[in-house]
């Protein structure tokens, strides 16, 4: 019903809406435990930089120069972590830049250290950078420490409004509209949220909801 990555995508969308009239940049990244090998620190920060640069009218000179330089090397090679870090700082120093990272706990620990240190460096140098992160509670202390305590935290738990929103959507999608009249709908929306608890966990269908109400 409510997943942490939904929260990330909601925040990213809202920031993108804001960015349009505020001349801000938004870059996002979703970590995935099953893709850890394909998500090393350089590729991850490179993907953020790619989005920030993608919103600029021109590719910064520093970046096109770095690209040209590596082409001289036989076979070429990808940009290194420290170069990407520096370029990300340059690209984000001119305007408000939102960096959103989903599931920090699903990043391999050795890469997480490097990423957090790079982000800390960027935060230190660019006052217009804001970082939004999600993850399981066990990485909270590490993030706080690596970012030198400049982090506010919010616990994500389903709220009454989430349950109501979810139920509304499900009721709208109900394939058996005759079975649902407006009184019953109102009853469900009124009753269920008050009973929000782990009691209801597991496979609650609309059919079962009706049984609960009656």
């Amino acid at each position: 019903m409510l997943t942490i990555c939904d929260i990330s995508s909601l925040v990213i969308d809202r920031l993108c809406d804001r960015a349009r009239w505020q001349n801000a940049a938004v870059a996002c990244f979703y970590f995935d435990f099953s893709a850890q090998k394909e998500q090393p620190s350089a590729s991850m920060l490179g993907a953020l930089l790619k989005q920030v640069v993608g919103g600029l009218e021109e590719v910064p000179e520093e970046l096109s120069q770095a690209y040209e330089d590596q082409r001289k090397v036989i076979g070429g090679r990808g940009p290194g972590l420290s170069d990407i870090s520096k370029m990300l700082h340059t690209a984000s120093s001119e305007r408000l830049t939102f960096i959103c990272i989903d599931a920090m706990d699903e990043c391999a620990p050795e890469h997480r250290v490097k990423i957090l240190d790079s982000l800390h460096e960027i935060l230190r140098k660019s006052p217009g950078v804001r970082i939004f992160m999600t993850g399981r509670p066990h990485v909270r202390a590490e993030i706080g420490k690596r970012l030198a305590g400049r982090v506010a935290s919010i616990a994500i738990t389903p709220r009454k409004d989430d349950v109501i929103g979810y139920l509304r959507t499900r009721l709208k999608e109900d394939t058996n509209p005759d079975a649902m009249d407006s009184t019953l709908e109102a009853d469900i929306l009124r009753k269920i949220p008050e009973d929000v608890s782990e009691m209801y966990v597991e496979a609650m269908t609309l059919e079962k909801l009706r049984q609960v109400i009656h």
Partner: protein, 94 residues
């Protein structure tokens, strides 16, 4: 007249191919930065998201003060961490 027309065509072609080169080089540089495409994953997550869920977060004091620009001087909490079980409420109601 035909000379003039030929010149215009010529300059038009030059401009077009010049723009193509720039656009091409730009996408090559961006691809060089990273093979990953997080925007695709974002599209995927957002398409499955239920409307209105999580809106409360955007109204919290922590979120609001975090996303305001740099108005009112130095901001202490430049980062915001939202924590929980990844599937919080996921199995709550199906």
């Amino acid at each position: 007249m035909s000379q003039l027309f030929s010149n215009i065509t010529h300059s038009f072609n030059t401009t077009v191919s010049h723009n193509f080169t720039i656009a091409d080089e730009r996408s090559q540089i961006l691809a060089w930065l990273s093979p990953l495409e997080p925007r695709l994953r974002h599209q995927d997550v957002r398409d499955r998201r239920v409307e209105e869920i999580g809106e409360w977060l955007l109204q919290t004091e922590e979120f609001r003060s975090w996303c305001v620009g740099n108005e009112g001087g130095e901001l202490d909490n430049v980062a915001l961490f939202c924590y929980g079980d990844p599937g919080v409420g996921k199995t709550f109601i199906r």
